[in-house]
């Protein structure tokens, strides 16, 4: 059936979302148009405003519509600790853990030589400026535990070492509630290596 151009455009636009195929796009479009016009208008306004105004914090590079995000401005945060993560979602996960009181720096990616993502592409020079400020005494390397994440952590740790800044890496081991039988060999080896006295 021939759909009206506007309905068609809405469905095409919804398909830009990850995991949304033609069927889901149709379902979402019909829901918004038939059952929730107010929701549709609100979504449109929110999308428009966010796409127009949200940029990156000039200090930590997280997503924000302000010049400096509220976390970086918060005087309660420990300014001597800097936690380096790959993406905003990693920062949010760490924040939700409630265990961290320092500041963040977001790389917006990780070193991946074979994809052509090197130090320049990742903007490590901006991080160097931050490290040179002298405010930071510890850098927590919270890049992911993938090969690319390890490579990134290694290069960053070298950057810290030459500046005499302590670099630490997130611990790895048996997850909470995890049974040893189901933990992979690599993780178990690390857990054994990094075991601690109790």
């Amino acid at each position: 059936m021939q759909l009206s151009p506007m309905v068609n455009e809405l469905m095409e636009a919804l398909r830009r979302l990850p995991g949304v195929g033609p069927k889901s796009a149709q379902r979402l479009a019909l829901h918004l148009l038939q059952r929730d016009r107010d929701g549709a208008r609100r979504l449109a306004r929110a999308l428009d405003a966010a796409a127009e105004r949200v940029g990156h914090c000039t200090q930590c590079r997280t997503l924000t519509e302000e010049l400096v995000c509220s976390l970086c401005r918060n005087p309660q945060r420990d300014r001597s600790q800097l936690c380096v993560v790959e993406w905003p979602q990693d920062q949010w996960s760490l924040e939700n853990s409630g265990a961290y009181r320092g500041l963040y720096y977001l790389l917006m990616g990780r070193l991946s030589p074979l994809d052509g993502i090197g130090p320049r592409e990742l903007g490590l020079d901006k991080l160097e400026v931050r490290l040179n400020s002298g405010e930071i005494t510890e850098v927590i390397l919270a890049t992911s535990s993938t090969i690319e994440g390890e490579t990134t952590a290694h290069v960053l740790s070298e950057m810290c070492r030459v500046r005499g800044i302590a670099a630490t890496r997130l611990a790895q081991g048996v997850p909470m509630g995890g049974e040893l039988e189901f933990v992979d060999g690599g993780t178990l080896a690390r857990a054994l290596n990094d075991r601690r006295a109790i």
Partner: protein, 241 residues
């Protein structure tokens, strides 16, 4: 940990390493693998990113048993298991591992089987795991790569058919091979360095730099003009030391 001992005895599947993995569609991975008996191949691992168990096995620098289906441009990954657990590469060794992979991705065409080169790669990765010095491992692999792909000259003889003499000087011509030259030639290397190269002696301070330059000079015309990212990273890693 996995049932590798059970499956390695099966007739299907091949031994291989993953050279490169990148996300494909929402949940899949597009892999570039190096197989011992079939060479480099592109492989789709469907759903691998949402499958924690499989994602954990699909790691670089680990010997894997891979069961592939399909003969076309892209094979499908049916099953994967770890052959044996190698300790992960760390720090600079990790960047060296990337360097080996980048060389293979750049220089080895797909579907071109080189079992001997695969064995060299396996040895190099194993050596990087435990090596205190990475450079000799890299030189050994570069030499093997040049030899296996038919780009290496006869290391023991100059182009005029004379054996290399330790006290004389030579330069590497990428077209013609090893040419005798005068000591003040800007590209001159000592015959001793060439002899060390021929006998895989990569760890002598007097010749290590010459050997590196010689091997890189031979690789350069095949690598193209785009710089190797891993080499840039290595420079950075050495420079800040």
């Amino acid at each position: 940990m996995t049932a590798s001992s059970r499956s390695t005895g099966q007739a299907t599947g091949e031994v291989g390493f993953i050279l490169h993995a990148r996300p494909w569609r929402d949940t899949s991975l597009l892999l570039e693998v190096l197989l011992r008996d079939s060479g480099r191949r592109g492989v789709v691992a469907r759903g691998a990113r949402s499958n924690v168990k499989q994602r954990g096995r699909l790691q670089l620098f680990r010997p894997l048993w891979l069961d592939l289906a399909g003969r076309g441009e892209l094979a499908q990954l049916r099953a994967v298991e770890e052959m044996r657990i190698l300790p992960p590469l760390q720090g600079r060794a990790l960047i060296c591992g990337y360097y080996l992979n980048e060389l293979l991705m750049r220089l080895l065409p797909r579907d071109d089987a080189h079992p001997a080169l695969f064995d060299e790669y396996t040895r190099a990765i194993e050596a990087l795991v435990s090596a205190t010095k990475e450079a000799p491992v890299l030189r050994g692999f570069e030499k093997a790569l040049l030899e296996q792909l038919g780009w290496a000259p006869d290391w023991n003889m100059s182009e005029d058919g004379q054996p290399i003499e330790a006290g004389r000087f030579y330069r590497m011509d990428t077209e013609q091979g090893i040419m005798p030259c005068l000591p003040h030639d800007p590209e001159a290397v000592a015959g001793l360095s060439l002899l060390h190269l021929a006998e895989q002696n990569f760890d002598t301070a007097a010749s290590a730099r010459d050997i590196r330059l010689l091997l890189h000079r031979l690789l350069a015309p095949h690598l193209g003009s785009k710089p190797l990212q891993s080499r840039e990273l290595l420079k950075l890693s050495f420079a800040v030391k």
